[in-house]
Symmetry: C5
Subunit: 354 residues, 5 copies
């Protein structure tokens, strides 16, 4: 479960465009990879200095520069200078607590996304902000750390699978978006399984920990929702196609991602509704158990209190208590007591307490 809020306080009051990395440093070494391709040609390499990729600026081929790690501010600055990126864009790339958004700067489009991963070690979502910059012939992607969901896209470029090599940078941006949204489905599958498991547990044997788990899942749903909800607007903004950077043919693919996003949101809402329902079930099962406990207590007390009272009566030391001297007094009192007990049991059974 990611932190609720990242420390922005160290940035407060600084002039806009000041480049300071908000969020923890998640990677030791910055890693820059460049993929350059068109329909016939493909090149992929890892570079050491950012200057190496400036050569691609005016080439007609599509260039995808991916940067893992955000702590070396000067690299970003150089890239920004070369490609004339607005300081606010650079600042936003470093503020890793953005909500997804899309900003059209004319020359390029800036997109912020949240990439989610399910960590099996933490048993929860791991979050990472991904910034994309889409220009006429390039896509830049900025990640907080190594490891992403883009490998299938890389494979498709390498092997020239699908139409990706025939299309431009806008299609590449779409493919990256699509990978991220596709990955949400995998996260949702995990949660779906958890919720179904929890539901069975709830019916068979609810425990106080069940409540903790429901609460935990609800919190993760709140988090997921916050991450995915604004994405809808982002993609529909891209799809509306007011930017010349998005070509006609890509629009239909963006509509497809849009549908997926709506489906993800729908599923999150469904999960939320279900978790609320489960909470109700849990609370009422607690009440039901209290009822059961109290019935046991009441049955026991109702049977033994009158009997103990009777025994107390004949434990009194009055001189003149004729029953005490009767020959069959003791067996008779036993019979009376057993009678009372049996009557009570029958009564409670009729009342469905037993």
């Amino acid at each position: 479960m990611p932190k609720l809020i990242k420390k922005r306080s160290r940035k407060a009051g600084l002039p806009p465009g000041t480049l300071i990395h908000i969020g923890e440093k998640k990677v030791e070494e910055l890693k820059i990879t460049v993929i350059n391709y068109d329909e016939t040609h493909f090149q992929e390499r890892e570079i050491k200095t950012i200057e190496e990729c400036f050569v691609y600026k005016d080439k007609p081929t599509v260039t995808w520069i991916n940067i893992d790690g955000l702590h070396q501010v000067e690299i970003l600055e150089k890239l920004g200078n070369c490609y004339e990126l607005h300081p606010l864009v650079l600042e936003d790339i470093l503020n890793t607590d953005q909500r997804p958004k899309m900003e059209d700067y004319g020359e390029y489009i800036y997109i912020v996304l949240i990439m989610l991963n399910y960590s099996d070690t933490d048993k929860g979502i791991v979050t990472e902000q991904v910034s994309l910059i889409l220009g006429p012939n390039f896509v830049f992607s900025f990640q907080e750390k190594e490891g992403d969901v883009f490998n299938p896209v890389r494979e498709r470029i390498r092997n020239s699978k699908g139409r990706i090599r025939r299309m431009g940078a806008d299609y590449l941006a779409y493919a990256l978006l699509d990978s991220i949204v596709d990955n949400y489905f995998i996260i949702l599958e995990k949660f779906g399984e958890k919720i179904e498991f929890l539901e069975e547990e709830l019916v068979s044997q609810p425990k106080p920990e069940t409540l903790q788990t429901i609460h935990h899942l609800k919190k993760e749903m709140i988090f997921l929702r916050k991450a995915v909800w604004p994405l809808r607007e982002v993609i529909s903004g891209l799809e509306r196609g007011e930017s010349s950077l998005i070509k006609q043919g890509t629009g239909i693919y963006l509509r497809d991602v849009y549908d997926h996003t709506v489906q993800v949101i729908d599923t999150i809402e469904t999960y939320r509704d279900m978790l609320s329902g489960m909470l109700d079930i849990y609370l009422s099962s607690v009440s039901n158990r209290l009822n059961a406990v109290m019935k046991v207590l009441t049955v026991i007390a109702t049977i033994f209190m009158p009997l103990t009272f009777l025994a107390g009566i004949y434990g009194m030391n009055f001189k003149y208590m004729p029953e005490l001297d009767w020959r069959w007094g003791y067996p008779v009192i036993w019979l009376i007591m057993i009678g009372i007990g049996v009557f009570m049991l029958v009564y409670f059974r009729k009342k469905k307490w037993l």
Copy 2:
């Protein structure tokens, strides 16, 4: 109750338009039926290879091709090539976890619907995705398995009942839509009966299982809602009549289906409200029963504790206890005890605890 989410993970990362069937294989054998008709002529046959239906492509008559089973991807591919369907459409047909949507590709309109059936064996909803493709002179329908709600439409075509034979492919698409929406009413009737039955049970004799049933129905309502809600948009999109594929005269019929859809949604909302109300009733009936149990316990304890105490007093072994030697001590103590008991009973009756 259908699964919450289908395994999309095996698709993640593949290029868009990759044809992979999402969802379980529900039928062994693919079945293709063709119905070809105009006002004077009618033909119906089952075919083995998809190529057989390409002959209908340029005929002026209306052709309805229905395919049950989605696991043979190559058949879809051939059909797509012949009729120039967009790869994303073919992909969506195979992804059987879509939310209802309508996409206008100019040459044809693609519609995704969810067909519901009430299964008496599972005591719940069975769901099946139906894809419709409406072209100028054809309608394709894709189902996951055999068995559907379209038989009355087939009958009407066969017997030339109503205006269906006189109208075009758009009217046929409407008729299929209408069958699916009509079927929702039947599902809702079933639920309506269940809810009314449950409500009576709730008043007469609430049980822990009642809660389970309420919870289960609520979940099915969430599911239904998710399936029907987007349909509104789909049909109003068709009705707005921006596509030339929908002729003037069909609009009025679509408005009719639209009204039905709104009525279905209204009813689902009403059911949800009612189920929420029933949950409140259930929970408070649990509290009421706890109250009743505790009153019994309190009455018993309040009557017998003082009496047992009194008996305990005269069971003490002090040497100088004058009462013990009184001639009428024993009867008097009985009278006092009975007096206390009667007083308590009267008191509790006045307090309305008995």
Copy 3:
């Protein structure tokens, strides 16, 4: 309380425009009355065959044909043929589970309304669908059974009271609408009284039946809401005056009905809010009573348990128990016991438990 849903299943799959009456047959004999009037002339009669009213078709006077009972489908068919009504309109007249709607067919406007009555025998709402067809010089009204809220309108026509005789068919349609909405206020008054009565009961003496009543009222509010909410759209659709059938001067009256409808909806929402509040009050009064019961039990147990224990001590049969032989042992133990009891009572009073 009307049924949640009417059996539509017997209609599923039939071609649109098939005339089948949905809903129970509520009247034995169909009754057709015709009122024909203009400023100077007035005629009212009951007719046996529908053909008799075809003579009014081309007269310049306003004709109001009211039909009570919907089970004779052929009468509707003949009327439909004569006045060229769309088959879907005829179908909708017979489907008595419509939500209120307005459809402009150019030549005529079709309006569906729900007429409510408060039945003193059933202690609840009785519902009846009313269909209105407004043409250039006629209004048709279709009701499920005899008895309606239109008598004041009839009186005004007969006695030429108000402006009704001077105005056209659109004003007549308005007058009928207005009668139905006015009647909602009477229903709401009944509920208002019930809710105020219930609220007093809730404060003075809540009973488990109170909960049932709250639940019942909530359900009727859900029902009312469903019936009235779409009416807003219907009337604002009429008022917007896009149809040439609604004359300029009638618009202002429709705005008046519109205001009334909004007021009805407002009041329903207020009632719903109040009933929710009352449910909270009820539930917490249950908790409060449980608290009271438990306090009684605890007080009794806390006082008598130590005393009984003490009595038990001196009921032991040890040989060497010096207190037993003391001259004042018995009175002293009484004093100690009374002391403990008084102390407990004072303690509980200080804790505000008594």
Copy 4:
């Protein structure tokens, strides 16, 4: 607390424009006052017959006619005839259960408002409908009874304070509106104090009456909301300035009232949220107290039940019970009992029950 709904039933079915006063007669004697002014001239008088004010109709000065009491329908009729008011306006003035609305009749604007007063005797809101008619050179105000919030406006006119004497009738209407909205703040202050007082009580010493008060305040908030919410639309309708009756310069003042109205609505929503939160607190404090009570009971029972059992053991009359004959049996049993008691107390203290 005003009645939920006023008796409209006696009006049902009457033709529109029928003048019948809905609501209780709140004043014995009708009172008509006229204020007539321009920048240099001022006249104020109370008149007996409505005809006296017809002389002001064509004067260029601003005329404000205020009528307290609505039960003399003929006065309204005469005024309506003279100033050509629409019958529906007259009808609405008499129906004192309107929701706030604004209707532009071209020649004049009709505004309905709800004037609230806090009555210290009833400890609640007192409501009164105020109707304003704004014409080119006149404002009519209709109130149900004497006493209003307009005195400061009267003072300002009399003393020529502020710009009121320099401005036209539209500014006067604004000033009246402003007085009514300003008064809402005073009502809200009262409620704010009540809520803060209640909150302190809730923390220090919650009582069942606290719940009643929360419920009562919630109901008054529902009522307030219903009265103020539509006002927003009314004022923004006036401000949009589509009527020529509202001069340019007044728009900015209306925007000011609009802001105040939004602030009132905001505050009402905040109060509602807070009262909901207080209800939660109350309910959980009830649960907490139940817990405390049950702990006392459990501690007492857990200590004394084993002890009483032990005492019961040595009260048995078996012949061969060696302990009974031991010299130190009695003191030893006391020690054991005290030991058990102390152990229990320590145990419960460790469990934080004491």
Copy 5:
């Protein structure tokens, strides 16, 4: 925690534009500071009389006049006269209970904001209304008391850091807005920490005070929301750039602040959701503890009641009770009692009550 509502009552009925300070006087001495700058020149001074700053009116440089303290109404009046501010603006500056708003008066834009501070002494939010007036070459800021979040902006102007000295008055206004919104993040960080701490406490050891804290935080969230929500509209109003006072280049910065505001609102909503979840957890933990207490009571009662009854039996004084004379009667009864006790314990362990 600020007061819910400020005393507006003393203003009710006064003509609009009357200058009366609403809210408590928070500062003894009024303090006026002037900062005057352009790209090359900078001047900062504290002045005594407001007239001293009139000299800046027609200078081309940017003038920022900051006034701390609002109780000296005449100073505001003089400033208003000199810069021709509308009386309603002056009135609004003094009414320190405004909701954030933006009003475009053509010559200048009036903005109201709420500046928040977290007070460590009060453990809560401290609120202060800030009014900004943005003219072509000036910004006025009005604060209720000394101390603000603008120091970083002052530093940047003094040291000519960033672009602030090169830009106009609109950029200065943006910078002030930005400081205030940045400060919201710091407030939210504090609350985020509190909520996380509370959540841990809730899991490990819930106390009645936990509930109070949750309630308190919820209230502060309601307050925060009320303060921040309207800000969105304010900034988007500025950003839409309809005023000529906002230059092209500043729009992009305003979009940045807008994004931050949306993020703040998002976070507040997330916190509210989480606090609601925590309330549920708390309430159910109370129920769980009640369950635990009741189980202890029931176990104790169920074990000792039958045993005490048995002991009572053999404490009876019947003459003929053969068991009493048996040699091994006493040990046997002990064995039976121990057997019953062990059986009960095993039974409860199996039922998972122990």
